[in-house]
């Protein structure tokens, strides 16, 4: 008598049906997990992009300098663009470390969160001094495509209010008095709101902001080592 081998068609159909039911059940459970995983990944990536953009902005702000403290050197027609710290955009001189063993290169950078080339987002431009003088349009660099709003505040000193003597005196723009000498704020608060409503905020210290315009000691005559020229 021959031994029966294999499965009958009915057995296979039953097995296939059971496996299909099993997989549909598992998939229903997995779909929820995958959705959570995808959302978490998207959220993480968005946070990562915001962090990278803020890191770049922080690097520029930390290295901010006053290139020239004479206001008459700024303006149109071959002069330098005046630095500006607005409530929604930044324009300032900074130093970028490019080559080991060389001084950092001097750049005029701008940041703004607005439509550019019909694409919204946080945009950064960077120019050499000669390019800035020559009004050569820089190529914008997309830092954060989902940026919907860039909000900035600036502080230089503690509040003069007697009610809050230890609170920084935050201002929406810097400098708020055009007659003040060119100098840098000490703190810059950056808030980015994404199109999805996420917020990222960072307070960046400007190390030379305390000084801003260098108060150069005058040449002294005679004693005390005062200078010859």
């Amino acid at each position: 008598m021959r031994t029966a081998k294999g499965f009958t068609l009915v057995e296979l159909l039953i097995a296939a049906t059971m496996i299909a039911i099993l997989f549909v059940g598992i998939a229903a459970h997995l779909r929820g997990g995958l959705t959570v995983w995808r959302r978490a990944t998207d959220h993480g990536e968005a946070a990562q992009r915001m962090r990278v953009a803020l890191d770049r902005l922080e690097r520029d702000v930390v290295h901010a300098i006053v290139y020239d403290d004479r206001k008459e050197r700024y303006g149109a027609d071959g002069l330098l663009p005046l630095p500006g710290f607005g409530s929604g955009e930044l324009r300032f001189f900074t130093q970028t470390v490019t080559r080991s063993g060389y001084p950092p290169s001097l750049r005029l950078v701008t940041y703004q969160c607005s439509p550019s080339s019909a694409t919204p987002g946080l945009w950064r431009t960077s120019q050499a001094i000669a390019e800035a003088r020559g009004n050569i349009a820089p190529t914008p660099e997309a830092m954060l495509p989902e940026c919907a709003e860039l909000s900035l505040r600036y502080a230089f000193q503690l509040s003069e209010s007697s009610e809050a003597p230890s609170v920084m005196d935050w201002r929406p723009t810097w400098p708020d008095d055009p007659n003040e000498p060119l100098r840098l704020p000490r703190l810059v608060e950056v808030t980015i709101r994404s199109a999805a409503g996420r917020l990222a905020r960072r307070i960046i210290a400007v190390p030379v902001g305390q000084f801003g315009t260098p108060v150069l000691p005058p040449a002294e005559e005679g004693a005390g080592g005062g200078g010859g020229a």
Binding site: V97, L106, V208
Partner: protein, 335 residues
């Protein structure tokens, strides 16, 4: 009769186990990479924070030093901070997180360099016939900076529109992008690269220029006789013998304590040959005994899987600070 069964359960099980194992390895590797990145980011932030702290520690040390004595010299507190330190640097152990003393996790190296031992590079912008402009040319020539670049540097800083010899360069608006000189003092090292040809200098030449000259000294043109580099003395017009004798004297512990006794101490230092009348004039014109501007180099190295470094070079000034601050930062570059 023996009934043979040929089920597929074992095959299916093995297949599932294999797939799950592959999935587990993939997830494990992904998570491991993420953890490594997060860890590096954290350690890097810690290193940066330590390096920044090092700069503020140096500021405090400089402030205390100004309170303690009125002279700055190479055996001073800021220059030779601790007996265990290597050459003019502080070595501070960085403890592990949560441990103030126990485990060493890395090192913070802080070095303070007197900017007033250097030549004020902004003196290059004086009129070509000025002794300081000549001194600048001598110094730059000694550092292998081509004479054309020295002339361009002077033209970049001066306010006139006359190119210097040889090879000077004034503003040229003919071809875009225009080259426009600053007509004012350099406020940062970055501006050097704005001068055509400077970026082609070798790093070693730029390093020598940085160690012999400064752009942070404002309108002061003096050098600290207690710390000044011998090459700067030679550039100013001192003879090599006088410069070497002065250095030897300092190495033997002589300190120039004040302006009134400076020349007497200097003559005693230089021995029988003494100073020439020109050198006496130079000493009276350019020498001081205190310094107000310092470069602080703070480098944190944290030992992780591989060392993670953060380096900050800052320039600190002890005078001329706003709001009666006793010290302030005038330059800051993070590496």
């Amino acid at each position: 009769m023996r009934h043979r069964r040929r089920g597929s359960l074992l095959v299916v099980t093995l297949w599932l186990v294999t797939m799950l194992a592959v999935l587990a390895v993939a997830i494990g590797r992904f998570l491991s990479r993420e953890v490594r990145l997060a860890r590096y980011h954290t350690v890097r932030q810690q290193a940066k924070a330590f390096a920044r702290g090092g700069v503020y520690l140096a500021m405090e040390r400089l402030r205390q030093d100004a309170e303690q004595d009125e002279v700055d010299w190479l055996a001073d507190d800021w220059a030779s901070p601790t007996p265990s330190a290597s050459e003019s640097a502080w070595l501070i152990d960085v403890p592990s997180a949560g441990s103030a003393t126990a485990q060493r996790r890395g090192t913070l190296v802080i070095r303070i360099i007197d900017e007033e031992r250097k030549f004020n590079l902004n003196a290059s912008g004086e009129a070509p016939a000025d002794p300081l402009a000549a001194a600048a040319r001598r110094l730059l020539s000694g550092l292998d900076v081509p004479s054309e670049l020295a002339a361009r540097l002077g033209d970049y800083i001066d306010a006139d529109n006359e190119p210097r010899d040889p090879g000077g360069l004034e503003s040229d608006v003919g071809q875009p992008p225009s080259y426009i000189t600053k007509g004012g003092p350099l406020l940062s090292w970055s501006e050097l690269l704005e001068i055509p040809g400077m970026a082609e200098l070798k790093p070693v030449t730029l390093g020598a220029l940085r160690s012999h000259s400064s752009v942070f000294l404002g309108a002061d043109r003096h050098v600290n006789v207690n710390t000044v580099h011998p090459d700067v003395l030679v550039a100013l017009g001192f003879s090599s013998n006088s410069a070497q004798a002065l250095q030897l004297c300092r190495n033997n512990g002589t300190v120039f304590t004040d302006q009134a006794t400076l020349l007497t101490t200097l003559e005693a230092c230089l021995g029988a040959d003494g100073l020439t009348s020109e050198e006496t004039t130079l000493a009276g014109t350019y020498f001081a005994t205190v310094s107000n501007t310092f470069t602080v180099v703070s480098e944190a190295v944290i030992d992780d899987r591989s060392p993670v470094r953060a380096r900050i070079e800052a320039v600190i000034r002890r005078t001329g600070c706003p709001s009666d601050a006793e010290a302030c930062i005038v330059a800051w570059v993070e590496g």
